[in-house]
Symmetry: D2
Subunit: 414 residues, 4 copies
């Protein structure tokens, strides 16, 4: 089990690297209910191993602090009471230092456990799930930190980039065609995958074509300047109500200063780069933009087939969290940007696949109970670990949310 | 155009018949935002003909009252300002008498118009749409009246049934199998249909079987008595939050009196009939019930294929609004209850079909802009006109709503 | 007890006269929580006699309908459950006709009772309280009807005035001085009065002077045109928040049409009369206006002393509901307008007088429990019965409310 | 100006002492809108000197950071835009260290200024106001920290007390009588005082008597055990609605554990001491308790006269923040507890005194604009600096708030 122990160490360390530039105060707040305090992410991912691995399988294990189950359970009804999600940001204690001690304690016990015990498949799977879970929270760490810093009027820098942003140039506008027919959808194989992508099954796709790159800030700005946020015609009704209620006129983090558009990036406050993929738009905005262009976005099934066609494997050189760029990159080398940069909104609702079964017990609460009123996103982003994403990976968010790195590409039927 | 004129007269008259037992006070209130005042339905359906037919095509037409566009537009952004939906119930003027005069005025002008003018296809289609639209509001009239009377502590009777409710008996529990493969979905033909069912296309279905009748009150009561509303395991997360926030423990209109379950029906307040199809449950409840039984509900595609198989045409003898029963009927003759009785929740999100195009102008706001966060329902109910429903007909509501006649049947993969 | 029987008949009849121009639909709605449906007022005042007189003292009395206690109790916790205040407007049954039958039934039983039984002081007092209570609801009937009709885009006329509104002219601006010293406050005597004005006691007043008439629309318009609603300086903080949240820029019922100010009056929609007393302003507006003029409004004690000085008795010729004018009148004859026209906001919080005792039982809930977060108003209005008002009469409303006929006069310390 | 410089140093240092036990995380959160982050208090009080002293009078002064006016203005409309009060807790930057640097910078400039410039009366007064302002925020620091730590499930200790809490014993129940007559109210003299206590004037008081100590936890528990929170009779209507909506059954910070009452104090979580004055009750609770005892609380005028009678000067030995006890003390030495321990709710609404004038400019926003919907409290608490309180000092809070150290004593008319 050397491999698992190594991966455990690598993944756990990465979480701590991501918060290395924060001040203690940055760790504690929760400006909106969807954004959790960084401290909470660090502790909750640790609680996962304590609760589901050590607590269940290591008979010698002594719980670090009895109160932490109450404090750091997220949404597992099966595992007892928990702090209301909206109150996570009121907990100043335990402090960051204590949470880091908690991590060290659990890390040591886990490494002992992984190296000492004979791991059954069941244990192996739950440890792997814990690591995948931690990688998901790494993405949330980045986006939640961006929200916390990006709503501070001082716009603090999170990460200084070594190189400067490219100025782009090669904005090819090609489309790739896919024939109609029956395709296989869903995960097939023996490696890790979530229950929501299991249940490989057939889907009939009508013929379509899809764009060879992501939509850029410059293209999105054309929509804005054409009155995109002022005309109801291109909006879903709930989207239009959202625009009016929130008085929205640009993607999240954009600000107009002296008649020019700026945005907050994790590298600081700067002028909008027109060649960079647009991000921090919600489903309503993606859908309205596509409608205004006379096109549409893909279903998740169309996306999966398209991706397998043009990017048959995940490219380690893509713009993932590993590249420490923390923002989408201009497409200057003609690749398709299916993986990394920004998650792509699809037009599919997040629903169970045929044959979907939720796991028994608490782990069964992982995915299935969220399958209502959410949209599927595909492909990962600049905040996703490169070894976490797959062709069949299904991410999901409510259609009004914008704080993730979310963008779009166009498509249409042939 | 004799046929159209006849249908116009018949449909318009039916709306007035449905409100014939109401007092003037019943016409005016709006107890919750989803329920519109009966008076408003009568006027809004009339406004539709005034706005989209007479106003557009009859050059001699003089608008009945200039204020009525503001008062009786529902959601057409293209047609100017309108009373906020939540304020419909504050309008005591124009009164019912005035609204009926308005109907008479528009009816006369419409009949003149239909008999005098040479009707283009465009005009014919918009008149037909207006009649279909009015039939949809007839269903809402029945359910909104039920809400208004059923939330009054006096529980007034809306309609006295001639015969008494059957006691049921033949609760067969058969399943019909459907082979896996590619099926055609969507409306094909030349008769009236909505834009949302157009775009006939192929869908691959995995093999499944479906129940031969609707779930009954008695079966649903077993779920309740097994603690269905107290255990989170079978609920979607948003459903479980709804149960807790609203303290739900039974379908809408059910009341426990001296330890026995009663419900309000449009025939009055009475003991729950265990053999009648359960109704006034929302998607969350339908889904939780199916999960508790270890089964599931169908997708809208599975439903369409299933329905064509076992009920190849709409049966005029089914329990529609025409039968003036105003509640689902016990299944005592072994038919499948695909049409009528209660709408069936499907697991499908309400989304555009491939090739969906919304019509240009205001009519384009009819369906497309609602395609988010709603679930598809199929088959019509005891409040649906029998000539309004089809195999391909797609109804849609938000998953938390219960005031429609909504029920379910079970299914599973083979 | 002939007098009491006569008064009973007169007061009860007056309520019905006030609703004689309404349509059945007008009786049922509740556009905001503070406004009750006219039907509810008619029934609730009847319930008061049934509950507190017939039910308690007439052994032969048979309750008209057992459900009505639940339906028409207002806020008496002692008398059992009741319909939530916010749901009054959803009750379409019993209809107006039924409510009028209920009134007739209780009227007949009451007249029998008053003429047959030997009335103790206790009974006499509770009947008198019931009549005073009904007079209070007559004022609410007028203001609630104004709200219902005045928020209808058709602006229906409630009452056609025989004569036209005077054009004013004599806007004298005199002040009357009152010496500092100890004054007696509170009701002394044997006639009817509420518990909240009892407890005659001494109050020291610093010397002051008060204006000899009410502030007019014209004067208030000067405040508006000087930016009164745009500058925070003259507003209490909660008032300023109200202005911003509600985007207020004029008194209730005022509308700007083609750059001129109009308002809805119970006589219809018309141009604002600059000489009429301003009304439908809340405490925040009264206070801000006075502050802007460099003056203030009186305390309720200053008002009581002032009123006794210049209008030693209630003038039957004043502009009360009896005059059927239903709006304040221009001051063209030099009287002080202490009584009638509009209630005057005072700067006093509504608090118990020294020695205040609430009555035992349900009647004790009449006044005392409202003594928090409300301001005292004095003098009655054009909607108050002339035999209902007194020098010592204390009315009270929350400072943000505007739907009553409320106005102001200025004062200052000497 | 040596005295002023000394006081400046002493007061400023005391703020920092009060936060000396906090972790960086404790400084940043805002669990409810009324509670500000400790960091914000430290910065806002500093901003006051920068804005109103250095910025106005020291021509050589360079603002520390231009953004801080936006960040740390509280409610002064005159001084430009500011962070919404509800968002104070989302600002993780500037951090505590930076805020302390800001304090040091302004402190140095202030001391230079105080020692170098010739101070006019105007400058002297605004510096003195700044110090009084800081003392007010010191009280808020203590109560806000209590809220932050007391709502953490870990119940961290803020301050370890040297001695243990006395067990009480001498719960004398004496009343002192005050004759009816005209009394002088308001501040007279030349020392510092707020504008809201100025305007010395005469008030007539009816004869009364008042209790010689504060009400204890033990006495309040009798009210609770007699069903105080379950019977509406003793509650103001808005109080009763609060009890039901919030499901209140005890003072703030009380918890029932294994059928015994505990509370969070700044010394930790412990069993309720029955002899200690009850605190963290709101006006509704104080009023209901007094009503249940058949008594009442005093008006602010009665309190002022009573206090001058029995405690003619502020006693330095009283239980103020200086004693570092941070909770009310048992009354074991027979003193009246008029000053310190807990603020006493009075029955008076917070209103302007006769002759009240607000100061011109921003300073005029200090008190006057809050004079609506609040109740006056008198006497200071265990969190008040002893040199901050006076007989004439008027504190004020909304009647539903409980997070201050608030209690009561009884009184009645003779």
């Amino acid at each position: 089990m050397k491999n698992l122990t190594n991966k455990f160490g690598r993944v756990r360390q990465q979480s701590e690297k991501l918060v290395s530039t924060l001040s203690p105060e940055d760790f504690v707040v929760q400006p909106v209910v969807d954004v959790s305090p960084p401290k909470w992410h660090l502790a909750h991912t640790t609680w996962f191993f304590e609760q589901f691995v050590l607590g269940n399988f290591d008979k010698t294990y002594r719980v670090y602090d009895e109160d932490f189950n109450y404090l750091f359970n997220s949404y597992y009804e099966s595992v007892g009471k928990r702090v209301l999600r909206a109150n996570r940001g009121n907990l100043t204690r335990p402090g960051v230092d204590e949470v880091l001690k908690y991590r060290t304690y659990v890390n040591e016990k886990m490494v002992d456990f992984l190296e000492t015990y004979e791991l059954t498949t069941e244990i192996h799977d739950i440890v792997e799930l814990g690591l995948q879970h931690e990688q998901q929270h790494q993405e949330l760490l980045v986006t939640d930190i961006k929200y916390i810093l990006g709503n501070n009027p001082l716009f603090p820098t999170f990460w200084k980039n070594k190189e400067n942003q490219q100025t782009g140039g090669n904005l090819h506008d090609r489309y790739t065609e896919v024939e109609g027919g029956v395709y296989k959808i869903g995960y097939e194989g023996d490696d890790f995958h979530f229950d929501n992508e299991k249940g490989v099954h057939q889907v009939y796709l009508q013929p379509y074509r899809f764009q060879s790159r992501l939509i850029t800030n410059g293209e999105y700005l054309e929509f804005m300047e054409a009155g995109g946020y002022r005309h109801f015609e291109h909006w879903l009704m709930e989207g239009w109500e959202w625009v009016k209620a929130e008085k929205v006129s640009a993607p999240l983090y954009w600000h107009k200063v002296d008649d020019e558009w700026y945005y907050y990036t994790l590298n600081g406050f700067e002028k909008v780069n027109l060649y960079e993929p647009v991000t921090h738009i919600n489903f309503f905005e993606a859908d309205a933009y596509a409608s205004w262009r006379g096109k549409r976005i893909m279903t998740e099934f169309e996306w999966e087939v398209a991706c397998k066609k043009v990017e048959p494997r995940v490219d380690d050189q893509g713009n993932f969290v590993n590249s420490e760029y923390f923002r989408p990159k201009c497409n200057d080398n003609g690749h398709h940007q299916m993986f990394g940069d920004t998650w792509e909104w699809t037009s599919s609702a997040y629903l169970p696949y045929p044959y979907f079964q939720k796991a028994p017990g608490a782990i069964g609460e992982y995915n299935g109970k969220f399958m209502i009123n959410q949209k599927v996103l595909r492909g990962g982003s600049c905040a996703t670990p490169s070894d976490h994403i797959r062709h069949t990976y299904r991410n999901f968010f409510h259609p009004h949310l914008r704080w993730q790195f979310t963008g779009l590409r166009l498509a249409e039927h042939i």
